[in-house]
Amino acid sequence: MADARTIAAAPAAGPGAPEALARPMRIALIGNPNSGKTSLFNQLTGLNQKVGNFPGVTVDRKSGWAQLTPARRAEIVDLPGTYSLYPKSLDERVITDLLYDPSSTSYPDFVVVTVDASNLRRSLLLFSQLADLGLPAILALNMTDVAERHGVHIDLGALAAELGVPVVPMNARSGSGVAALKIVMAERLAAPPVRFWQPDSAVQPLVHRLRAHFQLHSDYLALHYAQQAEYLAFLSAEDRAYVQGLVQEYAFDGTAQQASETIGRYARINEILLETVTVTRTEQREPVSNRIDRVLTHRVFGYLIFLAVLFLLFQAIFAWAQYPMDLIDQGIGALSGWLQSTLPPGPLTRLLTEGVLAGLGGVLIFIPQIALLFAFLAVLEETGYMARVTFLMDKLMRPFGLSGKSVVPLISGLACAVPAIMGARTIESWKDRMITIFVTPLMSCSARIPVFTVLVALVVPDESVGFFNLRGVVLMGLYLLGLFSALGSAWLLKVLLKARERSYFIMEFPVYKWPRWKNVALTIYQKVQAFVWQAGQVIVAISVLLWGLASYGPGQRQDVAEAQVRREAAIHRWTPAELGRQVASARLETSYAGSFGHALEPAIRPLGFDWKIGIALLTSFAAREVFVGTMSTIYSVGQDADMSTVQEKLRAEKDLNGQPFFTPARAFSLLVFYVFAMQCMSTLAVTYRETKSWRWPAAQLVYMTGLAYAASVFVWQIWGS
């Protein structure tokens, strides 16, 4: 299939100058949503991708390296799917920022336009716009086999001649044709000689002045400057003012011109299709996708199936993930025990086991849950089901000031709020998008899972209620609490915010497909890797720091406290084990960490928390997942080596009367705090970046922390005291 002879070379495009070998080429991939662009990107770059959409990393586009020929590598930039060069969402502005600034160092050498062969008319709209921008291009004609089966025959030679660029048939899913595409991509390409549409003569004077002022190489690019100057991030304020002045001077009507342009382009495209495409319809059979839709978007079954999918998701995260998690937990415990018995006792061994390993265990244990969650989301997205979910949910979400498209960030928020908030870029309306960003952190993300599981397992018995496990029911309740607080907050914001523009919802339904397991695997790999590296560094660093703060104290206070305990031991006749615990506890209380915790205690006492929890609250402010590691570290210091798991350590904790410290009331107060509190620097950072204002992250921080405090006080005052 990957046969270079099937490539229809355009007359004008040929091999370019060899001198260009010096600098690696930069090639942008662009295409309609669901045209196979991401599959092609994965085929070309494999594991050579850079994506960093986890804590604090600025990522607006994916890029990666492709080995085109043995001698030639190229940087491939993956752009968001779009229908035209007039962006409708923030997501799509990435494209104009990249393609409208020829002087930029990241300007691509050429673009590969992925096109769904069964949807040629609409795909060519985007292609013709790119061609008129003067960008060299290749048309990667995807899914020709599917089109052929539907009776659509495309004359590749004629199409290449009409478009003036190479046309390469391929299948991005199976990878056939990709080898041939790489060979064409390795060549230097010239801009297509064909013009598909010319601006009306009335706007020519404006276009000429813009071209001269910005020294642009195409009329169409100049026209886009007139249309979109206010959004082009690379233009200076003076430049923007200059363009706006000209727009007024010539009374340029952007809306009317864009409409006539699009109609004009479709007219030209219809002529091209008439020349190059023959359709022999065998029979008018309803596509399988439509029949599936009748079930999946059914007014009853649709919701039942969606609920079943969510249920399966929770089942996977809480039940199935438990087995590998237990293995990791035991593995870390065994390693820690082995180290303690083999290495000579001393501060270094303790640093390794109580600091580094305790922190590392707190990171590694999440891997199964994170992997499963992202696998699920990737499959839902890949199959096309996610689009149906937004369709089913739109009407239900609107009373809360959200749209169907908000559902995707909200569900992704179950994994991590950071990519979820970035996912809100696909929401076109400003108000819908702001509300979605604001409430997404209330969805219980995977970083809350360990806090939830540890505390729930501590105080909720492992019993069944009917079909359900009691712990599972409580966990579900915590998730629902997060969901309802998100919806309630959204409604509140809807009332408070003034809309600047109308909300709308137009979306294509992708055809149902089997997920490409390679893409799913790649997603899992990237998310887990990002988590282990980015969050892991923070968590291990905080663990080590904490261990230091918990092991050492100011001046002689620790020694004084220890001497005091030893005097009491003589009076009470404590056993050596009891003496060891009391000494450890006294030393921890007088350590640096203990002092911080004590300073915080008055503020959190109404919530039922003591100074040890205070330390955990402080450290987990950077990221929630630090909580378990911190608890593990604080309760590790000086405790018996055989207490390997956090739960055992917490269960052993006694209050002043010798009763278990973690009562249900106290545990639930803490759980509720973690449901609401905004304890994630990365989320605040990404909210700032996405909203371009400190007002939003500040409001999130104050609102969520306030909510957490109030809810926690409520639980403790009603139930605990």
Binding site: D394, F505, I506, M507, E508
Partner: protein
Amino acid sequence: MAAPSPVPASRRTARDLRVGETGTICCLGDPVMALRLLDMGCVPGVTVRLSGRAPFGDPLMLVLGDEEYTLSLRGSEAATILLKD
């Protein structure tokens, strides 16, 4: 941006289609919405078929043209797609 021109009330729109019924796009009633619809392939002359509605009646599912792809859009948006008589 130009103000939306009023949609003549007598005209049939894509929202008025019954499920399964087909119509042909005559023109687009709202200039701002028209730009988005045009990009998505809602061009005058193209046929649209209402293939279903979401459970609470909104949004709608429209199958477009002979190339057969499905758009989902709200009733208020479908109401700006005017049909030929």
